[in-house]
């Protein structure tokens, strides 16, 4: 496997670690099964690509994409909190609606960004090759997001979101406005996903309406792989674990792509990925079994 392949997997893994952090907030902290991400990921890509193609500054476009993601999350939260629609269904409705909205935003199913400026090529120093610089910049972005999240979830509002997820009734009894907590958590979660979509479109040559397919599955897999590799109850470790999970997942795909030496073929890719993820999930459990302890 070449350095280029590894750095590519790292780069895409870092982008999807933002998705994974978003999924961690909704599924783990809020306990809100949120499928909106399948729509907010391409939404971020659509907004960023359309704005850049229309001549806007890539940084403004990326921020706008992040805000668009937040709005999508807010609407899902609002459907659930104010209209009392079941959480899973509310997110499915939003996911479906976003398909049409994304087509409206782009005006066509595919907006290419091959020759346009992006946040990556604007910041890229002469001395570094693009395939080295992109993951490097993403490491900084993801670390900044991680630290900001760690900080936020230690504040009163952040703790209110976590309390709402672990025991809504108790949280209400303590004076937490759980409706507001759900709205804020969903907005934050989908803002991260929108940001990921914007960065993905800028590294992969454009936004495509189909780019959201399976985002939630990848996000969840990353969260679970991360938790299984580095189990912890502490939030600052859990966010690290989620990021590691997203990157490891991408390395597994890279590995599966290089598995032709044992007679596997292109169509086996998803199966190989699934098997590798299963191994990652089972090994820590086996270890706990051997040592006669419970998985912490």
């Amino acid at each position: 496997m070449s350095l280029y392949t590894l750095l590519g997997a790292l780069e895409i893994g870092l982008i999807f670690s933002l998705v994974a952090l978003g999924v961690y907030i909704s599924f783990r902290l809020l306990r809100f099964p949120d499928l909106t991400v399948d729509g907010s990921f391409p939404l971020g890509g659509a907004v960023a690509a359309t704005m850049i193609a229309a001549g806007h500054d890539p940084f403004t476009a990326t921020i706008a994409a992040t805000l668009a993601g937040a709005i999508a999350g807010l609407i899902t939260g609002w459907l659930n909190v104010s209209l009392k629609i079941m959480d899973l269904l509310a997110s499915i409705l939003m996911m479906i609606a976003l398909y049409s909205i994304n087509l409206r935003i782009m005006g066509k199913p595919n907006v290419p960004l091959i020759t346009e400026p992006t946040v990556f090529n604007l910041l890229q120093p002469e001395a570094l090759a693009d395939y080295v610089f992109r993951p490097l910049l993403l490491v900084f972005v993801v670390l900044a997001v991680k630290l900001a999240l760690d900080g936020f979830f230690a504040t009163q509002s952040g703790l209110a979101i976590r309390a709402t997820g672990s025991n809504a009734r108790m949280a209400r009894a303590q004076g937490v406005n759980t409706g507001m907590a759900i709205l804020a958590g969903m907005a934050l979660s989908n803002a991260l996903v929108g940001l990921a979509g914007a960065l993905f479109a800028q590294t992969q040559g454009g936004a495509d309406i189909s780019m959201g397919v399976g985002t939630i599955v990848i996000g969840l897999a990353a969260v679970i792989v991360g938790e299984s590799l580095l189990p912890s109850r502490k939030l600052y470790l859990a966010t690290i674990a989620v990021i590691v999970g997203a990157i490891v997942y991408r390395f597994f795909i890279a590995l599966a792509l290089n598995s032709d030496f044992i007679g596997l073929q292109a169509q086996d890719l998803n199966l190989v990925t699934a098997v590798l993820v299963t191994v990652a999930l089972v090994v820590p459990r086996l270890r706990a079994h051997w040592s006669g302890k419970r998985v912490s």
């Binding site: 390395f251 292109a266 706990a288």
Partner: protein, 323 residues
């Protein structure tokens, strides 16, 4: 916490990743081909490329290292495949369909990229025009000359005034066709009625919504429509609305006629460009092409069931009559 062993797992995975690095043979040419998804037409393109390479004396395992990867519908995976091929330093990368081609175009500006089955490579920003690009990109578009398609519709159903089309608004290739038809049909005294099918299960109901609004169905090479073609055929038979297709494979499945793309031939044409590059030509000096092999196929039995009789000269001029 279980850091120690988990770390082993992690490093184990990384070590395995490095261990899979294959030794490169300098005397071999390597061609890496990627498609966004497995699909009969796209698979035919792939086989066509391989055939053209074999015809030029490049044989897999001997003097050719052939790699094929499908993203299985996932754009994230498509991006990773593009990175892998660039990292493998393939001599030529062939990308089938728009998203795969864009992923490769974003990943390399040096390695020759030959796209195939991209309907509008200029709109997709793969090449600035169909002329030699001067970059690392060239290829073959599967755009159909729609004038010929309209001609066929008029020959199949001379009395038709309204042309119905079912398509996926999320597929770039289909949207291009619909937009062009919207402009072209009125020039021939025809009008276009559209119905959207965002998923293949929507094809039947979308077609039913056009009953009474359309005199003839035209089907482009839309992936959703092609995969659920039988649903459309059923509506055509029930409501006596004949189907005219853009790909010849659909004729055997119940379309009345098609003047369409032979995707295998498209692949061969793509492969011939690959061979030119392997022999030393610069991709930037090769103009992008459209398919030059179209063939007419008709299905008189399906016509009967859909309430029309095909004109005799049309049946006679067909390259293949499906019984």
């Amino acid at each position: 916490m279980s850091f120690p062993l988990s770390r082993k797992v992690l490093f184990g995975a990384l070590a395995l990743a490095f261990a899979t690095a294959m030794p490169a043979y300098a005397q071999q040419k390597s061609v890496a081909i990627t498609a966004i998804v497995e699909h009969p037409a796209l698979d035919s393109v792939r086989d066509g490329v391989k055939e053209a390479l074999a015809a030029a004396g490049y044989e897999d395992g001997k003097n050719l290292k052939w790699q094929y990867q499908s993203a299985q519908g996932n754009t994230g995976t498509a991006a990773q495949i593009a990175r892998k091929f660039v990292g493998d330093k393939a001599d030529v990368i062939v990308a089938i369909a728009t998203p795969s081609a864009q992923a490769v175009a974003a990943a390399t500006k040096d390695i020759p990229l030959v796209f195939s089955a991209v309907t509008d490579p200029v709109v997709a920003k793969l090449v600035p025009s169909m002329q030699p690009s001067g970059t690392n990109v060239t290829g073959v578009s599967d755009a159909l000359e729609l004038g010929k398609q309209v001609e066929l519709i008029k020959r199949v159903v001379p009395a038709a005034k309204r042309v119905g089309i079912v398509y996926n608004p999320g597929e770039a290739n289909s949207v291009v066709v619909v937009e062009q038809l919207r402009e072209l049909l009125p020039k021939h005294g025809l009008s276009l009625v559209e119905a959207a099918a965002p998923r293949s299960v929507d094809v039947g109901s979308a077609a039913r919504s056009l009953i009474g609004k359309a005199d003839v169905f035209y089907t482009s090479t839309d992936n959703n429509v092609v995969s659920a073609y039988e649903a459309l055929v059923k509506v055509g038979m029930d409501a006596k609305i004949p189907l005219v297709a853009a790909d010849t494979d659909s004729v055997a499945r119940g379309a009345v006629a098609a003047y369409g793309m032979d995707y295998k031939a498209l692949g061969v044409q793509t492969g011939e460009i690959v061979v030119r590059i392997l022999k030393g030509e610069k991709p930037g000096a090769i103009a992008s092409e459209t398919s030059n092999k179209l063939s007419l196929q008709v299905n008189p039995a399906a016509a009967q069931k859909q309430g029309i009789t095909l004109a005799e000269d049309l049946v006679k001029s067909a390259a293949k009559v499906v019984q």
